[in-house]
Symmetry: C3
Subunit: 265 residues, 3 copies
């Protein structure tokens, strides 16, 4: 898997990842980005987001603890990134849980050119116009992640990552299903949000979007898997996961990578 | 103690706990709620709090890093929860330290029907109209927690938890004093705030308020006690505590529970 | 080193440290302050910052996730602290990365009497009017920290700490260079911000500014060094560092302290 060399490219290029993200995961996202060798910056004031995004190598828009002002900042930052050709990744946390989040996600999708969207099956269903129950910010019920990802990619014409028991990546060309990770990820807040930030970092050093998405998701879930080898509870897992994100290399990934589906989309 | 079965009820029912809380403890509160098997959501924009609170199983109002907008959001969310009969728990962080916090707490108490209030002796003294020194957000000086809790419960007609070296619960019917926990809890930020969130989760699966309060406080402080068996410093304690919150079960609690006072109030 | 007795003075006096700080590091800063024996409070609403700062023993102004409202609050709090003679320490996070941060830092410096400023070489260069590249919030490139610190101290007439591979302290009287710490500090978000808060705590119990700065920086970096003896990765380091901040005492510091330069400034 040649795209796994992107793990090293992040460490070498230390991309500056500008996060406009939620207050719950800011610390964990910053620490996770440092762990993989990227350089995080959090900034959300409308007075500075254009300048910050223009100088960054990637932009993360995460609607987890949204306000009206933050939506405006996200759109300003997103459009500034677009002007520079900088990758922009959206994490539509809890979209569908309230009308406010749903409208905000739509406004962002309509006004910013997104490089990718990452969410759980419930969130991506909402964006794809599939009727799914969303309570709070966690996925509920049984949803076919592959169908959801494909429909969202077609409807929005944006590469999609749907994470869950397996992780599905759908771009215009390909649909992949990856089977790495650990259920402990669902017991620590921000593991989805941090993946979105890691995806942004990888996209900034990748030639193609597909390579960036596959490398980011596989590396990230394999690091989680490695961390789960030594711990069984969520407090310890969070610590071990940050450690693993800084330690896991190409070799570990090549040994553990489980692509269980790969087809034209 | 039959009410300890609520520990399992939280895991089975996975209550959605809506938190309007302070920026210091958002991450720790979310991780603590996941650890006990509940489902946290943080949302504070006035555009969405009514909808989020209406769909939640419990609501936490925490005035730790308050702004004027947040007070409005808390009242909107609280009244929405009241309409649905959803438990609402207030954490009056630092009330008395500034007039702004004191007025905000009063406004919330006057306009929202609270299921319980949890605070330290200084904070609850303020609400009870007892003159106590409050500097910052930590309890200072010697205050009789039982007297404070009883007076606050009578004045406000709301069940009260006063936490400290021992923890006091006073409802209309009963006054209990529990003697579990560890001094390490005072060295980690947010241990009080997270207890408030855990109380909210337990109340959402409990038939009576008293049962919910006793089960939540005893389970939580016993988990802290278990965590403190293996660590002596605050960094490690925070991790071990999150682990213990996910591991400690009814048996541990039955063995360790120390109710040192139980009387009609 | 007599000023190392300040380590114990913090534990004895438990100074209340009021932080108006960024959302990324609030939790880590609060936990770090508890670990050293201080008492943190986070409050930023303009309705309460004057009252909170007036009652605090030290004030931290950190512009990491700035908004226009926060700048106003910082100035109000800073002036209230000035009236009481309370130490005020500025952390100019990411100054130079955007015009908004640069203007904000200048406004604070112009309107509040600061006891000290702590930043990395890029940030302090900006304040000193030296042309340095600042992208995001991390130091980039090779800058002579001693020159930068001396120039900033002269231009602003405020004691300066420049942190990096070695740490430089410059006051009106002296220039010191300390050589403790570990590279792991650069892999955990908020290690600079927490040092600023620790400096504020030490200043509140110190008779002279120089003593407070030297004791805070040496104690803090030595605790990091001690933590790094047992761990090699950033997740574990964060935990071990909080532990070490609560454990490291005068003896450890005396053994490990490396002042590699001390001269009149």
């Amino acid at each position: 898997m040649n795209n796994l060399t992107l793990i090293q490219a992040v460490k070498d290029q230390k991309p500056l990842v500008h996060n406009i993200t939620n207050q719950v995961v800011m610390n964990f996202s910053a620490n996770g980005l440092y762990a993989i060798g990227a350089q995080p910056v959090m900034a959300h004031a409308r007075e500075e987001v254009v300048e910050m995004a223009s100088n960054a190598n990637a932009l993360v828009l995460n609607i987890g603890t949204l306000t009206g002002e933050l939506v405006d900042s996200m759109i300003l930052a997103g459009q500034a990134a677009n002007k520079k050709g900088t990758p922009v990744v959206l994490d539509p946390v809890g979209v569908g849980a309230t009308h406010f989040r749903t409208e905000a996600a739509k406004r962002i999708i309509d006004t910013v050119q997104l490089t990718a969207i990452r969410g759980n099956a419930g969130e991506i269903s909402q964006l794809a116009g599939i009727d799914a129950e969303v309570r709070g910010v966690d996925a509920t019920g049984e949803i076919d992640r592959i169908e959801v990802a494909k429909k969202a990619q077609r409807e929005l014409d944006i590469p999609i990552i749907v994470t869950g028991e397996t992780d599905v990546i759908v771009t215009e060309e390909k649909c992949l299903e990856l089977n790495n990770g650990t259920p402990l990820m669902t017991q620590v807040t921000g593991t989805g949000c941090l993946l979105t930030a890691v995806v942004a970092a990888f996209l900034s050093v990748s030639e193609t979007t597909l390579d960036g998405l596959v490398a980011a998701v596989s590396f990230y879930t394999i690091a989680a898997e490695v961390a789960a080898q030594t711990v069984t509870s969520p407090g310890s897992f969070q610590v071990a996961f940050l450690d693993a994100l800084s330690e896991v290399g190409i070799d570990d990934c090549q040994k553990r990578l489980q692509i269980i589906r790969e087809e034209r989309s």
